[in-house]
Amino acid sequence: MPLISRGFHGRQSEGPSDRIPPGQHLVDDFPVLSAGPTPHTPLEEWTFTIEGGAEPASWTWEEFRALPSEEVTADIHCVTKWSKLDTVWRGVSLDTLLGLVEHDAGYLLAFCDGGYTTNLPLEHVTDGKAWIAYDYDGEPLEPEHGGPARMLVPHLYFWKSAKWIRGFRLQDEDEPGFWESNGYHILGDPWLEQRYWGD
């Protein structure tokens, strides 16, 4: 039985309840959250690398952009309580990338400019669940939102959609990343409100 807050009514109009996970509220803008300065890696120095497969795989920016891409429309949910509906992205599906690498891993650890890492079970990034996105709303992704490219895993809290991604390592074990080592949940399912350790 939750504690009733005397005199609190709230806005009561937080949009379609089947699309807003518990504890979240809608925003129209696109808030920014990150732990440090925004990196600015020139595209000619940018590469995307998959480690931990039978052979290491790496793409330059031009090579990466030549991979088959998809347009994705998704609702996103940040652990800081905001949700945004119907965001439109373009990027390369993890199914496409993992199809190019021979491996038998169960997890990945994404790594990024700025030192950020985040961990994901492969079952949560395959079968059309995750992309490496480089366009947002029809435009190149802005640096403060993770450009030139970020992970997009919309069904998990948005810290899993790592900004400034440069690749990932395929692993047998689930190794906690940056926020996962700093008090945040190992998986982060917004519908189960898996925000913090112990949720």
Partner: protein
């Protein structure tokens, strides 16, 4: 469960709310809590707020800025009074936290109510009797918008702690401090030299944090020594 024990105005837009939290485990300066409000019909709203106080038994203080179009902050600042109880969860966060082991220079850069978690750090430092060289750079619109003015003046008498203000919109007559937004030149004058900086904590609205963190990197500070916390409409 947290019981309100005191509500006191800080500025025209901010109030400090003190709670008694019976089973509070203590916290580290810089951490935040989640506040959950529930209406009689079961509707709930949750927001995160930085803790303003140093860890002190079961007492916990939040300083909340009223956002006129906000959903939660007007309730916290205008409606809540001593004796009320609310649901409060935390402490949360393990990165943007004061590390008492630091030996080098610490820089705290706050924009507007972004000063709140930095104040928790200044208070924690003082409570521990720390002499770690620490400078706070505080950007506010006007002198009237500066939160914790008197207490900051007191803390600035302590060994190794000082405060530099910049007032970006209006300044009192005879103001001799900075009167512009924080930029690279200002940081070059106020921040420790690259190499001497142990860690910088930067908190404020996103454009403020982007500008400050970017300028510190341009000045040659290592990105990993710059810890940021941003807020925007999410605090509403």
């Amino acid at each position: 469960m947290a019981e309100v024990v005191e509500v006191r105005p800080e500025t025209s837009r901010t109030k400090t709310i003190a709670f008694d939290v019976s089973d509070w485990p203590g916290h580290r300066a810089g951490q935040h809590v989640d506040v959950r409000l529930t209406a009689e019909d079961g509707y709930q709203a949750e927001r995160s707020y930085s803790i303003a106080s140093a860890t002190d038994a079961s007492r916990l203080e939040l300083t909340v800025e009223r956002l006129d179009d906000g959903e939660v902050s007007p309730y916290l600042t205008e409606e809540l009074r001593p004796g009320d109880a609310i649901e409060l969860r935390g402490p949360v966060g393990g990165y943007f936290v004061w590390n008492p082991g630091a030996q080098g220079n610490v820089l705290l850069v706050g924009g507007g109510s972004g000063v709140v978690p930095l104040m928790a750090m200044a208070r924690q430092r003082s409570a521990e009797g720390s002499t770690i060289p620490t400078r706070m750079l505080y950007s506010a619109r006007s002198w009237e918008d500066v939160i914790y003015r008197d207490e900051l003046a007191q803390l600035a008498n302590e060994d190794g702690f000082d405060v530099v203000y910049t007032l970006t919109r209006t300044q009192p007559s005879g103001w001799e401090g900075y009167d512009r937004r924080v930029d690279r030149d200002l940081l070059a004058e106020v921040a420790p030299a690259p190499g001497a900086l142990e860690v910088a904590f930067v908190c404020g609205p996103t454009p403020f944090v982007e500008a400050v963190a970017g300028a510190l990197v341009e000045l040659g500070h290592e990105p990993l020594r710059i810890k940021t916390e941003r807020f925007g409409p999410t605090g509403g």
